[in-house]
């Protein structure tokens, strides 16, 4: 199991990378910064599981909160409208 590097409240940035394979990090959120909302636990790495491998070592999974206006420059709505996305630790920096 991989050690949990972040805690709720930490500011993180999603890696801006485009590897091939079964990636559970949506394209639209790559490269954006947000705040850890909670630590969800550790789960098999989907990129490994999709290749019929064990998924080990398990990766910590987080819910990260992003501000809509920072993700979409033309966003219309409340300035505090937010988007929460589950992201595995190896996608965060």
């Amino acid at each position: 199991m991989v050690e949990t590097r972040f805690k709720p409240g930490d500011r993180v940035k999603v890696r801006k990378a485009y590897p091939l394979g079964h990636i559970r990090t949506p394209f639209y959120i790559r490269g954006h910064s947000g705040v850890i909302e909670r630590v969800c636990g550790s789960f098999g790495n989907p990129e490994e599981l999709a290749q019929q491998r064990s998924g080990e070592p398990k990766q910590p999974l987080y819910r990260v909160r992003f501000l809509q206006k920072e993700v979409w420059p033309a966003y219309q709505g409340n300035a505090d409208d937010a988007l929460e996305v589950e992201i595995f630790q190896h996608w965060l920096e």
Partner: protein
């Protein structure tokens, strides 16, 4: 698959389903009975299960707190098996409205709501809900006040989400069954709020 004018009784995906199922049976990986039983089990799960959880949270504040802290465990308390997946319950308040989407596929709390509606899996709902949630909700007939924050939950990995709606005024003293009857599937996805009929 090319349609060259021949009579085609199945759509592409139906044909894929039948071929795969027959192959799995032929190879002895599953039996026809197991497939039927699984289909039956899937059809038995309906939004009434989720509504029961919501109604309990409305009448029992200690249960509500447990549900928000650990959704899976709180469901097990009511005899609902949530399996290995973790349930996150997000609560609507006067200042925050929650809505759930899965932009990558169609992750959905099936153990509580059954089979997802077609629109939940549509490209339009999936792409627009993260980008213009207020416009999408308005199309469902839900106008969220500008002063109310919207939180969109993109169900991208191992968590599943259930929205805990606000209990409407005028339901004081109602039984859990009566309360559960106003909690619709859409209220628990976050594209509607409970209304009194």
């Amino acid at each position: 698959m090319k349609d060259n004018g021949n009579y085609q009784p199945y759509s592409y995906f139906q044909l894929m389903e039948v071929s795969l199922r027959e192959l799995l049976v032929e190879k002895g990986i599953v039996t026809e009975t197991q497939v039927s039983e699984e289909v039956e089990a899937m059809r038995k799960r309906t939004p009434a299960i989720g509504a029961k959880v919501v109604a309990r949270a409305w009448v029992d504040d200690a249960y509500r707190q447990k549900l928000l802290a650990d959704g899976s465990r709180a469901c097990e308390e009511l005899g609902i098996e949530v399996a290995a997946l973790k349930l996150v319950v997000v609560e609507n308040t006067p200042s925050t409205h929650n809505v759930v989407v899965c932009t990558l596929c169609s992750c959905y709390p099936r153990m509580l709501l059954g089979i997802p509606p077609e629109w939940y899996k549509s490209r339009s709902y999936r792409s627009r809900t993260v980008n213009e949630p207020r416009a999408v909700l308005a199309e469902f007939g839900l106008r969220v006040d500008e002063k109310t924050k919207i939180r969109v939950h993109d169900s991208t990995a191992d968590m599943r989400y259930l929205v805990l709606p606000m209990r409407p005024a005028g339901t004081e003293g109602w039984s859990e069954d009566r309360l559960a009857a106003i909690v619709t599937r859409d209220c628990m996805i976050g594209v509607a709020v409970p209304r009194l009929h």
